[in-house]
């Protein structure tokens, strides 16, 4: 009874605060009220409050972040519910919904794991293959890792084998083959799709383009390896709804003068003892070491460490290497790789990573300008 009274008072207090916030609106007042409702476990109410606040202050960062946090919390609630339902009565439909929620949350590894679990329990259902195929196809487009491409193709092929009328799986598969230049493999899938949707203009364009190309040389595995090595596919991906990351799947060209200027600025940072900068396009741009400025020993070490980091990220199925930190009694080494440009900075013993972080960000912003904005920094 005592608890009930307390709840009632808290509710009354929040109602009073809502009236005051409407009377004197400010982003802080709306956000604080939303946070209070969220803390009280009233996620739906909190979302309504934040939406109302966003009507007054549509670009306020705090309110936008809070809305995202509440939406995530709601999705996590759905995850809990779906997991319980799956435990009670496993069903491929529930697995597919759970995988979709993880994808909405941006937790692609978990979505894939759920799909793998579903495959184990329901090997005759095409959906888990489609989920994995779509996730890996997206990863392949942004990272161009051969392993991602192979997993995408294997799973999409399997989905079609189970259900030849799965339009989504067949279209994604055809687009990967077409981008790789595996024309003889893409064409039958495209023709099959055209029988279903003869009015689709995008499909007709793709068929005439792929049909005019030569038959590929080499198998799919070798085409995937070439794409990974060259960091581009011979033909563009054709689908209309590509995101920003996919638009940038081919690394932008880097101006060597800008790169050198940025490198000088990095070396001028007080905490930097040695530096190594290289790009896929230009090779080693600079290697310097204080105080002799010979740079030879750190140059070798940095190049080898970056090479090992790239290889490990790929082999561990983590996508392209983006950044790394190395710490020890010698001090700290900062590693970064973005769009084919990589740097290694050896910092003096007492310097923290934070001391150089903004300089490193400024370096990449300077090198890539606006091209980098909004894209994943980790694109290798």
């Amino acid at each position: 009874m005592k608890g009930l009274g307390k709840d009632l008072f808290a509710q009354m207090r929040r109602s009073r605060q809502l009236r005051q916030t409407r009377k004197h609106p400010s982003p802080t007042a709306w956000a604080t009220l939303g946070e209070r409702h969220l803390a009280a476990g009233e996620a739906d109410h909190a979302l309504a409050i934040v939406e109302e606040g966003l009507q007054d202050f549509p670009t306020n960062d705090r309110l936008l972040a809070l809305r995202q946090a509440i939406q995530k919390e709601n999705l996590r609630e759905r995850v809990r519910g779906l997991r319980q339902s799956i435990r009670r009565r496993p069903d491929p439909y529930l697995y597919a919904r759970l995988a979709d929620v993880f994808r909405e949350l941006g937790e692609l590894n978990k979505a894939e794991r759920i799909a793998e679990e579903c495959k184990g329990r329901f090997p005759g259902d095409e959906n888990p293959y489609l989920v994995i195929g779509e996730i890996r196809a997206g990863r392949f487009r942004s990272g161009l890792m051969a392993r991602d491409g192979k997993i995408a193709i294997d799973n999409l092929e399997q989905a079609i084998q189970i259900n030849p009328e799965n339009y989504k799986a067949r279209l994604q598969l055809a687009e990967i083959y077409a981008a790789l230049g595996a024309n003889s493999r893409a064409l039958p899938h495209l023709l099959h799709l055209a029988e279903e949707t003869p009015e689709d203009a995008h499909l007709r364009d793709l068929i005439s383009e792929v049909g005019a190309r030569p038959v590929e040389e080499g198998d799919v595995a070798s085409l995937l390896r070439v794409a990974e090595r060259k960091r581009s596919t011979p033909y563009d991906f054709h689908d209309a709804d590509r995101g920003v990351d996919e638009e940038e799947s081919v690394a932008p060209s880097v101006d060597l003068t800008v790169l050198r200027r940025g490198t000088m600025a990095l070396f001028a940072i007080r905490e930097v003892v040695a530096l190594y900068v290289a790009s896929d396009e230009h090779g080693v741009v600079e290697a310097r070491e204080n105080p002799q400025a010979s740079g030879q020993s750190f140059r070798e070490a940095a190049a080898k460490i970056l090479k090992a980091a790239k290889a490990s990220s790929r082999k561990m199925d983590m996508g392209g290497f983006a950044k790394g930190f190395l710490e020890g009694s010698f001090g700290r080494i900062v590693l970064r790789r973005t769009h084919g440009v990589e740097i290694a900075l050896l910092l003096e013993g007492s310097a923290s990573f934070g001391a150089v972080a903004r300089h490193v960000d400024a370096f990449f912003d300077g090198v890539f300008g606006q091209k980098r904005k909004g894209s994943r920094a980790g694109r290798s």
Binding site: A302, I305, M316, D317, M318, F321, F330, G378, S380
Partner: protein
């Protein structure tokens, strides 16, 4: 040692952990997918050896911790002298918050497993 790894896996953002000796033997593991055990162990040993060798060639000794951040994952390799603690982290969390727990787990593993060069020689 297994308890230490199991406890570490309860921390926010930790997706798995293992202890691997410098010759690639997985001494203990707590992973979501048990089939990743040997592959992760081998790859962690490989990168540890390569980084150590590269540093030595560059006249840099005494590396303790390596954090690798890729597009879809993040791993931490904590040097235990003749072994390494490998921790797989969620890409979306702030690793600084979990690093204290990783260091604490590394210290406990050193005590439990006696992973020191002198113990190995003995």
């Amino acid at each position: 040692m297994q308890d230490v790894l199991d406890n570490l896996n309860q921390e926010l953002g930790v997706r798995g952990s293992l202890v691997v000796t410098e010759d690639g033997v997985v001494a203990a593991a707590s992973l979501l997918r048990e089939e990743d055990r040997d592959l992760l162990g081998a790859l962690a040993t490989d990168i540890s050896a390569k980084v150590r060798s590269a540093l030595r060639e560059g006249g840099i000794e005494g590396h303790k911790r390596l954090v690798l951040d890729a597009e879809y994952g993040r791993i931490v390799l904590y040097d235990l002298d003749v072994a390494a603690l490998v921790v797989v982290l969620d890409r979306t969390i702030n690793p600084d918050a979990t690093m204290i727990e990783i260091e604490s787990a590394a210290a406990r593993i050193r005590r439990v497993g006696r992973f020191t060069a002198s113990a190995n020689e003995a």
